[in-house]
Amino acid sequence: MNTFSDTAISRTKLWSHRLIMVSGKGGTGKSLVAASLACLAAKSGLRVLLVGSSSSEQLAPLLPIQSTKSSQASSARQSLTLVNLSPEDCMRGFIEDHLKMKQLYQKIFRHRVMRSFTEAIPGLDEIMLLGWLHNKCKPPSSDPREFDLVIFDAPASGHFFGLIGTPSAVLSSGLTGPMIGEIRNIQSFLQDPQQSCCLLVSLPESLVSSETLDFAKKITESGHISLKGILLNRCLLSETLSAQLRQLKEEPTVIRYLERRYQQSIKEQKHLQSELEMSALPAGLLTLPESGQIPEPLTPEFLDVFWESLAP
């Protein structure tokens, strides 16, 4: 059984949020982490909505369920629902379902020329996406809440920062009007550490983990969203395993390779740990083991490993 350090990430605390956003540098395993968390939260009895935003479906193959169209997400009655969003879906969902202006959407926003106008309005797509997510977490008081937890497989670092900074950028641009009230609600929802948080996925490679640290500091300084943790993916960490490995002699090439990966994992874990402490970032650190091949869909055995690395 694991003994967890002070900086461990606890599932009880994670599950108490309404929205978890998973970001990080490209290729670190964001989709895998988002999908695994969604499965684990659903297993704990929560009704979970997992949201992806890429044009090629990355989440569906990892899950044992089919992805739904965003318009149908509200009708699905299951513990885990997957939606892959496009800007149009967000726009429609937000205007039709949240602002209850269905006719307006049909007449105005589906207009071809109007679409090229709205595409050029800076930040509108981002606001619609955040508005859509917010609406799924906290629907207008008249509607029942359908999901206990929304997990967003967010874009990689640079785009993610642009996304979460959009409400502040729009509010400080001096606009007024009915939208502004909405944007203020979205902003305070994202900034509330009890309700929203983000996780960053990283790798035990010096370039990637230093970029993660820079980005973690940038997010925390901005105050746009609370950073709950860094997940160091693809680590080889166990000391006992390393000792066993050294006793194997027959294939020195492979053993040297694995030994080097082990040293690297240790080094980057320690580096991240001490940097998090030194810069007083209120974020936990979690290491995930190298799994060789990701099973599609994710198997119970695979998820168990993730589950065990989270503190209760």
């Binding site: 007449k107 106008f117 709205t118 595409e119 050029a120 800076p122 606009l175 370039l207």
Partner: protein, 365 residues
């Protein structure tokens, strides 16, 4: 495993590397550039928004023009790698300054409350700028070849498709019949506001408020003049990119997520009639490790780490195999190259030279 030798690329004028974020586009661009320079060619590299630390490691700073970064040993002095780096925010500022009617007009755009959000987000200008810069480099008699390292963290094909968004905005005359009335209403009072575009813009105003809409209209009007400039700067370049002079190269890791993106990109390229010349499977297990792993396969109870490595080897083989069987006919890239993962980051010159050996042009395979 490949139909064409990598030497096939030497006949090209432009190489464009595409792939999802984090697969190693910048590293592969550098390795390939260095390898080509070794044949005595002068190679220009444009990197759009590369990972900061990697850029710093090879001496690239934003705001600088084209500069020599590497000279391979034994290339008799002629072969060199020149590079330049584009950062979207700076590019947008520069484009506005260059194409605005006057300095005052440029300042009005740069100081507009919506500008910060726009310059960060509206990808078009960076792509236009990259295309404009690319055209300059293609026409530069000092360079034999240009390599483009496309931006990370976004849909890689934005590089080619985003200019179309701005272009359609311009061609549909959206400014004139939709935005202008609102802009004018700011000057003449709300009574004239919805004379032309009443239904459409009135609808939008119900969401955003009139004031917000006026601000946006004003901003877009200001931007119109520079969009024209962006457009002119990149004219003709898309034709070059569809020609025989250009080769598109995909970079992918060997796991299923990354290969899905690669298939998606290959399909998009094919659909838009851009020539896909090759795919680099990056961060593969090195050959000596593969051979060693093969010998351990028969072990009854392999060490768990060894087992994970064996699984990884299997995954890589199956991944490449599945890409090959998927990409039949005209979708099949002529060049397939397995690039071994590097022990160290390619921070130093030595590490980079070692890495470039993976793109060895002397080997017929």
């Amino acid at each position: 495993m490949t139909l064409h030798s990598i030497r096939h690329l030497l006949n090209k004028k432009v190489l464009i590397l595409l792939g999802a974020g984090g697969v190693g586009k910048t590293s592969c661009s550098l390795g390939l550039a260095l390898s080509i320079a070794q044949t005595g060619a002068r190679v220009g590299l444009i990197s759009i928004d590369p990972a900061k630390r990697l850029a710093a490691a090879i001496g690239l700073r934003s705001g600088e023009g084209l500069k020599e970064i590497l000279r391979p040993e034994g290339s008799q002095g002629r072969g060199k790698v020149f590079a330049t780096m584009l950062e979207p925010q700076e590019v947008f500022d520069e484009m506005v300054r260059r194409h605005a009617k006057s300095e005052k007009a440029a300042e009005r755009i740069l100081c507009h409350p919506l500008y910060e959000a726009a310059s960060r987000r509206l990808a078009g200008p960076a792509e236009y700028m990259a295309l404009a810069r690319l055209r300059d480099m293609i026409n530069n008699p000092e360079l034999d070849m240009v390599i483009v390292d496309t931006p990370p963290d976004q849909q890689a094909l934005d590089f080619l498709s985003k200019p179309d968004i701005l272009a359609s905005f311009r061609e549909n005359k959206v400014m004139h019949w939709l935005v202008l009335p609102i802009h004018m209403a700011g000057k003449f009072g709300a009574s004239r506001l919805f004379s032309v575009s009443e239904k459409l813009m009135g609808g939008l105003a119900r969401i955003t408020g009139i004031e917000a809409l006026k601000k946006m209209a004003e901003f877009l009007m200001l931007l119109e003049q520079v969009i024209d400039g962006f457009h002119k700067a990149s004219e003709g370049i898309l034709e070059t990119l569809r020609s025989q002079k250009t080769a598109f190269l995909l970079v992918s890791a060997c796991h299923s997520t990354s290969l899905r993106t690669a298939r998606h990109l290959a399909t998009q390229l094919h659909r838009q009639k851009y020539p896909l010349a090759g795919i680099f499977f990056n961060r593969c297990l090195p050959d000596d490790i593969r051979a060693s792993l093969k010998r351990t396969e028969k072990q009854a109870n392999p060490h768990p780490w060894l087992k994970s490595l064996q699984q990884r080897r299997k995954m890589e083989d199956e991944g490449i195999e599945s890409f090959l069987s998927w990409s039949s006919g005209s979708m099949r890239p002529g060049l397939l190259l397995r690039i071994p993962e590097q022990q160290d980051c390619i921070h130093s010159r030595e590490a980079l030279c070692a890495f470039s050996a993976a793109f060895n042009l002397d080997v017929q395979n």
